[in-house]
């Protein structure tokens, strides 16, 4: 008996849940092609209440209002540029997700590339320095002979496995 109740409740949920969701679609434009345009434009506009969302993503009341405004303007046949201009006039460049290229936003646009260039320059300079340092590390003839002598003596005593670490030690002494 109990499981029947649960079943009925679940059945009700299954039947009525989509109705709740359907409420949000009230504002849908009949023409899906037009709705696509509305969404594309809404995706270019920042929600000013929750600033890291577009008005397409946000459900803040202002975002809903602005999206309705976009829809109205699309329905009356205005172009994307017209609509974005309309928003910029009212909310400033900030409302655009892609800031326009102009003097005040130049650093924003070229900043990352500037940092990348600086990074590459630092890297190149360091690499050059390192190769220069390596060539200095070449041993002189006497040093080389001494090294060979030490290695031979060591390997005869303890076997070849230690020779690597010895080589390292000599290297450390040098530097």
């Amino acid at each position: 008996m109990n499981s029947l109740k649960v079943f009925v409740v679940l059945l009700c949920l299954l039947v009525f849940a989509p109705l709740v969701l359907a409420k949000e679609a009230v504002h849908m434009v009949e023409d899906p092609e037009m709705e696509k345009t509305v969404n594309a434009i809404s995706d270019e506009l920042r929600c000013l209440v929750c600033q890291n969302q577009t008005i397409a993503d946000s459900s803040a009341p202002l975002a809903v209002d602005l999206k309705n405004q976009v829809r109205k303007m699309v329905e009356t046949g205005q172009s994307q540029d017209d609509i974005i201009d309309y928003m910029v006039q009212r909310y400033g460049d900030f409302v655009r997700y892609r800031p326009p290229m102009k003097a005040s936003t130049l650093l924003l646009w070229i900043g990352p590339f500037l940092l990348l260039l600086i990074g590459i320059a630092v890297l190149v300079i360091n690499l050059r320095k390192r190769t220069a340092m390596k060539s200095d590390e070449n041993l002189s003839v006497e040093e080389h002979e001494r090294l060979q002598g030490l290695l031979a003596a060591e390997s005869s005593r303890q076997g070849a496995t230690r020779s690597n670490s010895l080589q390292q030690k000599v290297g450390e002494e040098k530097s």
């Binding site: 209440v49 600033q51 009341p61 405004q69 009212r90 909310y91 900030f94």
Partner: protein
């Protein structure tokens, strides 16, 4: 030596940016309307829905437009200051009742006092969009030529009123109808 100085300079540079960043409020979006004509509108009055108010009536006068709503908590906080200001009779304050139920709005004013010469019903929020309103409350200072000279985002504080809004209003009132007074001329508005 350079290997110590360079990281130090980089660190100081980053610190300077971060320190500046602490003072900025990312929620304050600079208004594109400063020094631009206020959008023209005509709306029903809250207390006399049969009559309407048009921005054209205000040409030749300095006035404040305060965007408010009964559902807005911060409006409740700033309201006593506006009531006080209206009693001082310095500058007329008009209210834009933004996306509100007129009955709720009238009740709210009855409870807290009415600071406005008139409140205007913007039920759909369309005029709000025209003014670039993105949060309530917001307060616009409009000059004799109908040009917006300043916008206070969020509740008006006593400090903002004394340092910026009132000095600016006085300057604008003293100026002749053709004279241009910008908010940059008032130190407290920077």
């Amino acid at each position: 030596m350079l290997r110590y100085i360079v990281p130090l300079l980089v660190f100081l540079g980053v610190s300077a940016f971060l320190l500046k960043g602490l003072e900025l409020n990312p929620h304050e979006v600079p208004s594109p309307f400063i020094d631009k004509p206020a959008p023209v509108f005509s709306l029903q009055k809250l207390h006399a829905p049969d009559t309407s108010f048009s921005t054209k009536e205000m040409l030749g006068e300095v006035w404040l437009l305060n965007v408010w709503a009964s559902w807005c908590v911060a409006c409740r906080a700033e309201h006593p200051l506006l009531v006080q200001l209206s009693r001082a009779n310095i500058v007329p304050i008009y209210g834009l009742n933004y996306k509100d139920e007129p009955d709720d709005a009238r009740n709210w004013l009855r409870q807290l006092g009415d600071a406005y010469v008139s409140s205007l019903i913007d039920y759909e929020g369309k005029v709000g969009i025209d003014f670039g309103v993105y949060g309530v409350p917001e307060t616009f200072v409009i000059d004799k030529q109908g040009i917006i000279r300043h916008k206070v985002i969020g509740p008006v504080t006593p400090a903002a009123l004394d340092d910026c809004v009132l000095p600016l209003v006085r300057k604008l009132q003293q100026a002749s109808a053709q004279m241009v007074v910008k908010r940059t001329e008032v130190e407290g508005c920077a």
